[in-house]
């Protein structure tokens, strides 16, 4: 096993098991569609709520996209083999999460303009919304990976994972919608964006190590 052989296999596996990503994207769409029906379909209300709705849907969907990312590796003994080959579990975790993020964000970016129209998102906020998603969702994925690694050995992990991960999502949610809101008010949101990027860098440093520790413990 080498890093490249593992990442190439992961690439194949992600596209061979499309349902994981398809489920989360579908979930995202369902939330977007149901919200206006349930609350209010008036464009004036939706215009101010749309960024929040998109972000809530994206954060729930990202959790769904990562649920079970390590389960198969734990069950089929892959984690043992990574370690036998002297590879660092944290680097493999990072690679797996980034591959999964790539497979999630591409269809999402295609859908966002349509969702924006459906939710009466002001046209001049479209760019900021996409930027906030590009900067914020990798953080969500890395945080969800911690939850996924802690619950990797459980059969039904979705609820526990939500409980672990949701509080960690809050800062990302606050600053990403804050960034778009600031642009809406005509002030520069660059501060919020910088904080969002800083959170990403911190999580990028610590999440793979947390995941590696809990995956090794689960494999005992």
């Amino acid at each position: 096993m080498t890093y490249s052989s593992i990442f190439l296999s992961e690439w194949y596996l992600t596209f061979r098991r499309k349902q994981d990503i398809a489920n989360s994207i579908l979930f995202f769409l369902v939330v977007i569609v149901l919200f206006p029906i349930g609350v209010s379909a008036s464009p004036s209300f939706l215009a101010s709520a749309s960024v929040g709705i998109i972000w809530c849907a994206a954060s729930l969907a990202s959790m769904l996209a990562l649920d079970g990312i390590f389960k198969e590796d734990l069950r089929d003994g892959s984690i043992d083999q990574w370690r036998m080959n002297g590879l660092m579990v944290s680097i493999i975790v990072l690679g797996k999460v980034l591959i999964r993020w790539g497979a999630f964000i591409l269809p999402l970016l295609v859908l966002i303009p349509f969702c924006g129209v459906a939710l009466s998102l002001p046209e001049d906020l479209m760019f900021e919304t996409i930027v906030s998603l590009l900067v914020g969702t990798p953080t969500l994925f890395l945080l969800a990976a911690i939850g996924a690694s802690i619950t990797a050995s459980l059969r039904n992990s979705a609820v526990l994972m939500t409980l672990i991960v949701m509080p960690l999502y809050l800062p990302v949610l606050i600053f990403s919608t804050g960034y778009v809101k600031a642009s809406e008010l005509g002030v520069s949101g660059i501060g919020q964006l910088a904080i969002l990027a800083a959170i990403f860098l911190i999580v990028l440093l610590i999440s793979p190590f947390f995941c590696a520790i809990s995956l090794k413990a689960s494999a005992e």
Partner: protein, 199 residues
């Protein structure tokens, strides 16, 4: 001396799995770990690899503690456990590449022919039988160069032909100066192996 185990004890859920185990493994040795189901054979192998915390005893690799030269120890060791790392949703050739990524692909063909996997190279492993999946995992025995082999039940779900192939590979490995630790419930057709009984 390659591997030296002294008074090794493992606890699981506050229960000691077996009475203290000691054995030495020199190059050219084959050690068969025997014991009833649940006596801790697999746990012993995983403890040697450092995947399981030991409650007492020492493990020395080439005279030093495995902690110190841990990565070196793992790189020189080939471990094939119950869960082999074969991915159900990858084809046989993709799995061979995943498990033996450091080996040039052109070396695969002789091993694939020997293990009679050549007709299934593009078949996803979930469509294969247990025995065929095991063969995919065991291909590493011929493809990779490792001094120490740690094999957990290597003969399970294999037919007689494949079992004979594995036993031959083990003999070749010890003739080359390597060493093998394995667990199995069946008698080995190999001369001069040591047996360690767990109780």
């Amino acid at each position: 001396m390659l591997l030296s185990i002294k008074d090794l004890e493992i606890e699981r859920d506050d229960k000691v799995l077996f009475s203290p185990v000691s054995f030495d493994l020199n190059s050219g040795d084959i050690i068969k770990i025997a014991g009833e189901n649940g006596s801790g054979k697999s746990s012993l192998l995983r403890a040697i690899l450092g995947f399981l915390t030991i409650s007492d005893g020492t493990i020395l690799y080439r005279g030093g503690s495995t902690n110190r030269a841990y990565n070196q120890f793992l790189k020189e060791t080939l471990y094939i456990g119950h869960n082999t790392g074969v991915k159900d949703n990858l084809s046989v050739s993709e799995n061979l590449y995943l498990l033996n990524g450091s080996v040039p692909k052109k070396e695969f063909s002789t091993v694939v022919d020997m293990l009679q996997l050549q007709e299934h190279m593009d078949v996803l492993c979930r469509f294969l039988s247990e025995g065929q999946k095991k063969r995919v995992a065991l291909a590493s025995l011929w493809l990779r160069e490792c001094t120490l082999w740690i094999l957990d039940e290597p003969f399970v779900s294999l037919d007689n032909v494949a079992q004979a192939l594995i036993q031959n590979a083990i003999l070749k490995q010890v003739a080359k100066g390597g060493a093998v630790v394995l667990t199995t419930h069946q008698p080995l057709a190999i001369p001069n192996y040591k047996e360690v009984f767990l109780s």
